[in-house]
Amino acid sequence: MAEPTPPIRLPLTQLKRGDRAVVAESTLSDEDRAVLKAMGLDERCEFTVCRASASGPCIIQLDATRLGLSPDLAKRILTRPCDCPESGCCAQEQPKQ
């Protein structure tokens, strides 16, 4: 029996414009993670990528809010793209405004 394929996890910098994703994990400190969570970027939150780049800022949209993240920060945030069948994240009903 084949082992289940692990869910795809991509650094935020590798996503493309228009991709939807959720945060899977990060290598950030607890303090930085708390700041991002307070700004609305936590594991429960689905976001849309407006701009992603390994050299420039990454811009994501969370509901009506746009967040800009430096590439150093963005590459330490691993995401689960929502069009990935393994992720299953989009199957859950997220509260929308």
Partner: protein
Amino acid sequence: MTSPAAPARPVALAPTRVAMVGNPNVGKTSLFNRLCGVRAKTANFPGSTVEARVGSCVADGAELELVDLPGVYAIDLELPESKLCRDCLAGRLEGCMPDALLVVIDATNLARGLRLFRSVANAARPVAVALTMTDLARARGLSIDPARLSVALGVPCVAANGRDGTGIEPLIAAIRAAREVPPQVVAASLAASWIDETVTAIVGGPNSLGSADDRLTDRLDAAFTHPVLGSLVFLAAMATIFFAIFRLAELPMEWIESGCAWLQATLATSLPEGAISSLVTDGIVGGVSGTIVFLPQICLLFFLLALLEDTGYLARAAFVMDRIMCRFGLPGQAFVPLLSSHACALPGIMSTRLIPDPKDRLATILVAPFMSCSARVGVYVLLVSILFPNSGFLAGLAFAGCYALGAIAALATAALFRRTILKGKSRPMVLELPPYRVPDLRGALLATYDRALVFLKNAGSVILAICVVMWWISAYPKAATPEAAIAIEARAAEADARGDAPGAEELRSEAATLASRAQQEFSIAGRLGGAMQPVFEPLGLDDRLTVAVLTSFLAREVFRSTVTVLVGQGDSDDDVRVSSELARATRADGTPLFDPATTTSLLVFYVLAMQCLPTLAVTARETGSWKWAALQFCWMSSVAYLLAWLAHVAVTALLSTLVPALGGGA
């Protein structure tokens, strides 16, 4: 509609102190400005690097005291603004114990606002909610009924807009009502699913993400954060600000200078001659006018920055510059203060409040005075024209080199400080990018007014005290009028008797220069100069240049007038005449005083040295400690001395190699 800020009736009730809490960019300060207008001031609290604004308004005969706390995403974060909010809510800020809270929530981001509401509403204190950005929410197809939200939260809730003033009167009524009804939200809000359930129950309509507005925002973001296009846009924006600071401020600066000169002259003629007259005219008016002359530049800078920030552009620009600035340990937001410091370090340092991270902000404050400010320009012109009297190209190159040297020293120092004394992790560069919008002119004017008040208060306290001390050490002890000056005065009287008024005027000016030179040398400052001369000898300075350098530690522009009095034939507005006179000045041994090595070392010294007491006072104020101002002074002076000495050695060595090789004398 009656303005809520306008006093309607005499105050009858005890004031209610209301702390305003909200996420950043929710329109909290706009509401505060609408409620308080000019009846507000910036408040710094001991031990805090962030500030709040405190103001009041009177409505229906009762006074409301409002505390506009800094925008926070959560109050439990280990960030200075979160700590300030925690301290305020816990009553740990002196004189700032709130009776009630006003939580400001962005209607387009209800969930995040509710998270903050839940954390602050637990404090057993009346709470009201102001729902802002309802127009943006409507544009997205969202409908939020404040009345239903009020029921769900158990506290009064009204929609209000600080920009156009709608909902302000109901908001004041809601704050009053909150005081009479204890908050009922606490128990329900503790449930984990409370936020999702509340949002689902309250918000109606689809969130039209991907709308035309979003596509436009996408395009603008792509342009403004693009490595090349974004940099060009940023440079254009900064060039506009720079132009405004330099050019548009010129006229009002001249008015202030003329006004102060008139005041000095009037006081000099109306006060009896003596120490009091000298103290008032030279010490107080002369000293303070040297600082308040920069008020127009400060006002323009803060007005333009407030407008630019309000458009939503500045947050994008921070990312463009972050790529460059992070190599030197500074955030992207540091670029604006550093650029502004080219006009004057005072507004530059004050504008570091744009920088959220305390260590980043401190590093920027410490290095900002390295940037060549407008006060240095006069010194650069004088020394460069002595150094290259016949080559406009080389003079221009040297002039540009001064600016480059200052910028390099600033960035190198920042890199060093961030790796040593200010070592530590910066706050991650994550910023909320507010929607693009037309800036709020009223808010920008109020922000400018607030900054101008802070600056004038500083000029009227610390800077005034410093000016008086500097006046005293320059004016005392009094020197006897030199015999040569008395003789020249006698000749001036004879010239008057002959009817030669221009000749008499010239002689009196010569006598005054001699008397001024004698006073400079005899004063405490002059004696200090004499005592310190051995220290400055390696830079090629004689005792006169040492006095000129020491007296210009008050303000570097003083160098020109001091050196022309001590070395030349008296101060003059004619740059060419002054520089040619100084170029001919000699030392006791007959060699040129301003030889290339000495002139170069002086130039390097003036580029790098901290010679501006008002800047030190503002550094102390903005950092909350004279310790940092002392470090700034010592570091900049040490770097200036070392590099000026190296320049002197290098130019001396170069000339000793080149001149014999070219087969000529100097």
